[in-house]
Subunit: 355 residues, 2 copies
């Protein structure tokens, strides 16, 4: 004689289980499971009924049970190793949020850019049970890492690569268009003598940004040739580039740096030369990383919805991993998300310009 109480109504803790849904929809638990997991072997009518029951009851699958039964750990790896590190924070927030939503575990792994370190990181990820990996920049550009991961049969999503290889899943903004918009913004303010600091040549996004900038300049036609310096996405490299740009005669009235760290460096160098930003010099960046809003005056820059991108990357990964079982091999998926030009205090009309 067992105590019969407590099993009369669903789970002990009152949460909705798959059985509740099944009963409500008048089907078997199995069918509910199939619907929830997107199996093809369910009639449309049944599927609708079940989905409605799910919605009505507010059912959400118990992750622990699912993992236990399916023995698929469903851990997603997140390889990081970030030179321009302010990125990571927001990225993690977005990724973690999506992971929680899907009930998968996120496993972090730090990774230097050397081949040996890459291999080690990937191995740790594999032995940690990860079945997919998110690659924020600049790791997404590393062919070594990608090759290693693919050899381990992992799904990969690259985030914010400028021109990702077609066979990889990818989430990014349109760097080219964003750079164009920013450049047009500078021209619209009345700037004519422009300076540009390129990003790290290893990253394809750098070239996209540069292409965007120069395409607008060329279209405008009548402008003096912009001064261009090579940077490497670091504050230090921005400082060097700024020194050269500002030493020129005549100096540019506006400088477009390929990321925020370098833009911050331009501001620092400008101040050292007793140039007020934005009164004497307009400075704009790219990324809207933390430093952009930390410093004063705040940096006009291109906002990347980093958290959202990270979230979508995890979404993509989960879909690929789950779908990869039922359907064919993962179809190549590229996702473009919207950027936004954020105008803060670092950009204004050039000094002599008419209002």
């Amino acid at each position: 004689m067992n105590k019969p109480a407590r099993k009369t109504r669903s789970g002990a803790r009152g949460s909705i289980t798959i059985k509740d849904v099944a009963r409500y929809a008048g089907v078997s638990p199995m069918t509910v499971s199939r619907v929830v997991n997107g199996s093809q072997y369910v009639s449309d009518a049944t599927r609708q009924t079940v989905l409605q029951a799910v919605r009505r009851l507010g059912y959400s699958p118990n992750i622990a049970a699912r993992n236990l039964a399916s023995a698929r750990g469903e851990r997603m790896g997140l390889l990081y190793g970030n030179p321009s590190a302010s990125y990571l924070s927001e990225f993690l927030v977005g990724a973690l949020d999506a992971a929680t939503r899907h009930g998968v575990q996120l496993v972090l792994e730090k990774c230097e850019l050397t081949p040996a370190a890459s291999r080690r990181a990937v191995r740790r990820l594999v032995s940690g049970g990860a079945v997919g990996a998110v690659l924020p920049p600049p790791l997404c550009e590393s062919t070594v890492i990608c090759a290693e991961l693919q050899a381990a049969r992992m799904q990969i999503v690259a985030v914010a690569a400028g021109r990702p290889p077609a066979e990889l899943m990818c989430v990014r903004i349109d760097d080219f268009a964003a750079a164009r918009e920013m450049t047009r913004y500078l021209l619209a303010l009345g700037h004519e003598r422009l300076g540009f600091i390129k990003g790290h040549p290893n990253q394809t996004a750098s070239e996209e940004r540069w292409r965007g900038f120069s395409s607008v300049i060329q279209e405008a036609g009548h402008l003096p040739a912009p001064r261009v310096e090579q940077g490497f996405f670091t504050f230090r490299s921005g400082l060097d580039a700024a020194r050269k740009l500002l030493a020129a005669e005549p100096a540019p009235t506006a400088i477009f740096a390929s990321n925020d760290d370098m833009a911050a460096a331009v501001m620092a160098e400008a101040h050292r030369r007793a140039l007020e930003v934005p009164h004497d010099l307009t400075v704009v960046g790219f990324d809207d990383s933390l430093i952009a809003s930390t410093i004063w005056p705040g940096l006009t820059t291109i906002h990347q919805p980093i958290a959202q991108m990270a979230g979508e990357a995890v979404d993509l990964l989960v879909t690929a991993v789950r779908g990869g079982k039922g359907h064919g091999p993962a179809e190549s998926a590229h996702r473009l998300v919207a950027y936004e030009l954020v105008a803060r205090e670092s950009a204004a009309r050039p000094k002599g310009a008419a209002v």
Copy 2:
């Protein structure tokens, strides 16, 4: 007739289960479970045997199964909402790592500092199934949030509160001692005219740092009174403070800002006045946040092992939640971790000093 294969030897995927350990140790699975979960009802001899078996076999419990069976979702909340935001990234890394180690889920929740927003955030956390919460600064100072959380019967760990209430669990560095060390460092370099920028008065850590600084000054005795300005941990407030400090006659040769954002602002202002750091002015910060190593010259500062602290916070939380069941109420636990003075390029001997 079922296929008998695959259950002959432990799990399908070859992983070690509790039964393997039990068989190896010659006890029942229940006993193994007790040992692993630290129940008191196990004899020492048995415990040793089991532990040895665990080690020998490399057993690690299946988290999914554990969560399923015990119906304890074991989600930990992480409330954030960070003005000095560069903190968050490293914090998340540490917290997530520890969470993965313990097999608990981390649930993020953003939270403004208003009472209404706090209440909402806590409610979301509760309904999300969190049983404990980590509070990074500055949230750990909010009595509203703490009260709300305690009302929801959650375990709380405050991180990096300067002087935490005794009844809260807490992980922090010794702000007082760290500030003392930094101040002594400045004196050892030969600085005598010092400036200090206080942190936000709402945060107890601010006062600890200030007390540390001034205690060393007082002990030294012979120095001119330091110039002190009130800051609020933001770049902007650091700029204002720096302006006042550097306008003084004679100006200080070294400025100690209560965090890195403000120190970065001091450097910016110094450069604007054509003062070279560290040649003309020494600037030091506190926290070793990202900006400290992003800018150039790099900031000499106090390194807080943020990731480690976040990890310990999660450890503490897990222990409290798990232990809270078998043992008495959680004993108050304060954990002090080691800080480190990181000397970068922003501090040097004062200009006129003998070498």
